[in-house]
Amino acid sequence: MSTVHLGMPGVRPQHASPGSSHLRGDRSFPAKARTELANPVLRQNLQHATSTIQAKRASVVREVRDWQKLRDAGSALKWQVTDHLPEMLVQLEESVQAAGGTVHWARDAEEAGEIVTRLVLERGQQEVLKVKSMATQEIGLNETLAHAGVHAIESDLAELIVQLAGDTPSHILVPAIHRNRAEIREIFLRTMPDLDPSITDDPAELAGAARRFLREKFLDMSGSVAISGGNFAVADTGTVAVVESEGNGRMCLTLPRTLITVLGIEKIVPSFQDLEVFLQLLPRSSTGERMNPYTTLFTGVAEGDGPQEFHLVLLDNGRSAVLADPEGRSALHCIRCSACLNVCPVYERTGGHAYGSTYPGPIGAILSPQMTGVTGPDDPNASLPYASSLCGACYDVCPVKIDIPSILVHLRAKEVDQRREASGQFHGTWDVAMRGASKLMSSPRAYDAAVRASSALGAVKRTGNIGKLPSALPLIPGWTDHRDLPVPRQSFRSWWKDRERHGGAPAPRPDGDGPEDSPASGEDA
């Protein structure tokens, strides 16, 4: 896909605000992963959940004969949006205003937090209901509201579990994926005052308890305020779409007097008809359902029907900075289906918290560092592009065909280039090793000599494989801590040379113990 040159922005795009944004952890990925990997319950919970959902997704995707064409369409629409984002945003603003809504522009998490808090306080509310939303999680809205004395209640079951536990979400779609039924029962018993202690960990009973807890909140919603995110915003009609499974969202979007929707600026689709593509792609990719139970579409306000006030807060918080990189910008195409998380062998083992951001998994590894920018080698987000074996499973499942592995490598290169250019910063263990290897591997003579030297090591060590050992070479211990390494024996190049000396006759098999021929035994290449 060729990228469109977007021209020079009048204002330099800024990164996400470090203060309120939940986009950066306190430790690097390898350090956090080590902690998470040591938790066998977490691993079991995750493995069970991700493999179930992955299998469901695969089977409903298989049913759709034009799935690859749908993906192409989804991808093309999203490229159209990123190529024309400024115009489409203005179009969206006009459409929303024409339909009776109010549009607010928020440069970062703080601005968005201020706008929402002001709207809530102006309406005299101390409690607001929330529909599960990544954007409000990203900007730490609940905390901002709490500072102003406003209590936000999460209405999504999993989000509620996370909130009651005082925990943070670890998955885009299933925020409490790291918890099992027994743990959830404990959390409910601790936090729901009227709960009958005889409750079991049967999912139906647990959902029933949550429903009773939330219904009371829904019932006194007259004059109230609800806050949602949105999956899509249609530029030509001003319609916002919220896709969900539980129906709690539908209640929040229809019962209150005032609805505030916080939406990342990349959530635009050009026209109403384009929803047909995404409403096919999203449910199959995310929950593995043919169609999600509730899709709520709302356009501005309608007298006597639903909220009588609608505010749309358009959030940048680093998205313009992502847009500024032609090779990284397709990270903005994400429709938050979470298929890439469920299929990722790294996510499946470390869980979402290791990524330290609202956006975990493969998409988080390319989105978070681009949104925050990377301040230096010690920035925890600098480690995210390396949190992948580049296996490519994410790219295969992504409904909008984001080439995550290529962007990961691009971001690695960007970080290395930055360090190379900043004087005095290119002396790390890896920098030195990589420079050395580059010299060696671009010089056939030096390389040939190095191969001979390594084979000589094999002549000293008589057993077949290198076991656990402390090594002088910086790169080897990470390997031999966990697995054996073959001992270098006679190299191929030396075998080939022997064979040519024997007139190209089928060479004898090396006996496996023979030392390398001496460097003097043949001409250098």
């Binding site: 296996c391 690695r412 580059s438 390997w479 191929f492 190049r493 080939w496």
Partner: protein, 261 residues
């Protein structure tokens, strides 16, 4: 046909029998194999770790070495899915990073003639039965880059099924990455270890005597774990199975990916 062998640096030093087997196999099929000892590495490690500027001299050297042969050989073969993927997809990126249009063009010409082993056998040499004999049970691990970048698909399995005496058994969760990922295995060694631990357990669960793949790097990872655990299955490269015959059968040595016969 005249086929140029790019052994890959890893096979040259750490798994030479993989390269030897490639030569023996292709010669047995009646082809001439040429080998230019000036070859070193494809530059994948540098590229995937983000060191494009350091990859550039390696890529330049690779292109210099193999460009010279383009008129004299019918194909270039690499017994590795990920290195072939690097040549095909990433040399271009490195050249672009260096803003070297000439290198990009020349790299493209070399890449167009470069094949992974199973691609060469099935697509270019049009053969699936190479006359091999391997009376053992094996399970096939499709390495990520051969499966998702090169899309070799069923080619390796077709080649394996045509081997006399072989039993190919199913590998549970076969399409999950083994956790190698080049420098990932060192930079994120704990996560990599968790991944290869599961892969090794699935190999054991398959009940096969050998785990076969088209990449010596992934086999070193899986084999290294199996050896560390003291598990019975042994790693073997596709080339080693296809080179094995009744007259000259493969007999494993104590060395990983090595042979005693």
């Amino acid at each position: 046909m005249r086929i140029s062998l790019m052994t890959t640096c890893l096979a040259d030093v750490m798994a030479p029998d993989v390269a030897r087997s490639t030569v023996i196999l292709l010669e047995r099929l009646g082809h001439e194999v040429v080998y230019d000892p000036r070859q070193t590495c494809c530059g994948q490690m540098h590229t995937n770790t983000g060191y494009y500027s350091e990859a550039a001299p390696v890529v330049r050297h690779f292109v210099d070495t193999f460009e010279r042969q383009l008129d004299d050989v019918d194909a270039i073969v690499m017994p590795s899915g990920s290195c072939t993927g690097c040549v095909r997809d990433q040399h271009r990126l490195v050249a672009q990073h260096e803003q070297d249009e000439d290198l990009e063009k020349r790299a493209g010409a070399v890449a167009a003639k470069t094949y992974e082993l199973s691609e060469l056998l099935v697509d270019v040499l049009k053969t699936t039965d190479v006359g091999a004999y391997f009376p053992h049970s094996v399970t096939y691990h499709p390495t990520c880059h051969s499966m998702r970048i090169l899309k070799v698909g069923p080619r390796p399995i077709k080649l394996l099924r045509a081997v006399e005496g072989i039993e190919v058994v199913n590998l549970p969760e076969s399409s999950t990455c083994c956790g190698f990922g080049g420098t990932f295995s060192v930079k994120n060694s704990d996560t990599s270890n968790a991944m290869v631990t599961d892969k090794a357990a699935n190999v054991v669960r398959s009940g096969a005597e050998f785990v076969v793949a088209g990449d010596a790097s992934c086999l070193m990872n899986i084999g290294g774990k199996l050896a560390r655990n003291g598990d019975a299955p042994r790693p073997i490269h596709l080339a080693q199975i296809l080179a094995s015959t009744r007259e000259d059968p493969f007999v494993p040595s104590a060395e990983m990916l090595g042979r005693a016969s």
